[in-house]
Symmetry: C2
Subunit: 181 residues, 2 copies
Amino acid sequence: MALSHAIMTALLEEDLSGYELAKRFDTSLGFFWCASHQQIYQELRKMAGKDWLSARSVEQSGKPNKVMYSLTKQGKEALDQWVLATGKVQPAKDDFLVKLHNVGHSDVAPILAELDGRQEASKARLDLYKRIRRKHYTKPKLLPDTQKGVYLTLLLGIRQEEHTQRWCDDARSLLRTVRAI
Amino acid sequence: MALSHAIMTALLEEDLSGYELAKRFDTSLGFFWCASHQQIYQELRKMAGKDWLSARSVEQSGKPNKVMYSLTKQGKEALDQWVLATGKVQPAKDDFLVKLHNVGHSDVAPILAELDGRQEASKARLDLYKRIRRKHYTKPKLLPDTQKGVYLTLLLGIRQEEHTQRWCDDARSLLRTVRAI
DNA sequence: TATTGATATACAAATATTTGCATATGCAAG
DNA sequence: CTTGCATATGCAAATATTTGTATATCAATA
């Protein structure tokens, strides 16, 4: 159950509502962990039930009311326990790589098309990450400790996307040598 | 439902039993898609029920009997349909990157330890991939079309692990500048 | 001959995740 | 004044995945 821990991690810095969390999972945390709002709202209530989080309703003007959650002492303890425990590495599941194994057995055209799409998406992410780095992480060593881990995930993302760009180019070259079925 | 498609992809080249498939998912295919034997056996029966696969029992001497599966015409059609459809990119979920966001909020020592573990594991994979490349994929352009996609996944894996190695070194440097809590 | 390890399959329960739907407020643009 | 968009939360059902357990064959080895 790591979604709960991802949520608690986000709550380390500030209290958030489900909606705000969902947005996090669309951006920063979402760079390497995605979750739908349904999952988040459900998980939040479950965690509040376990006293890992405390909830309070907040009246808003101009917007629907929201429920703000904060990490409790018990939640923090559970989180620390989890950080302490070494987890097993699980390879990412990637549809596209499965599809690549079909090259030579079915039409390459859609695979090339999907490759283009992925390269574009990766380029967009790369640009975004670089913008974030320029804005907030120019001097990693001078960062407060609480930001160093975040920076490292960003750095990983940047390198990941850079090598993805190169790989996509190489993959395209090779896939173009595949005869039509 | 992509596990079924990963299974059919493996069955493109040759008929396999559940046990043999499980081993595949521990190695080649498993580099980017993992599945437990429980899941595989269950999925195989489900797919046979949909007539995507045909099953036949094979008597063996010296070993328990096994059930061999082959891809049917309908299965191949379903697979082609899936290859044709563009899937959305879903970021990999990675516990460790969530843990990194906890740096500065809890003890770094276990995070550094986990980093070491990951680097070692990554190094082992890198060596394995390189051995495979040396043995089977020295001349990518001369490969039969059916092997080109497989090669590309291997290449991605190699680059992935190479950059992971560098990143782990950089991460360790920076994490060492974090004060104990 | 008792144990271990590899081969081979399977059930059941618990969790996690995705998909589809439902509801409601308030702003802005047409 | 109605449509669409962003905010905000939720239920229910279907799928997928993990975890734990169970069974059985045969080979090697201690």
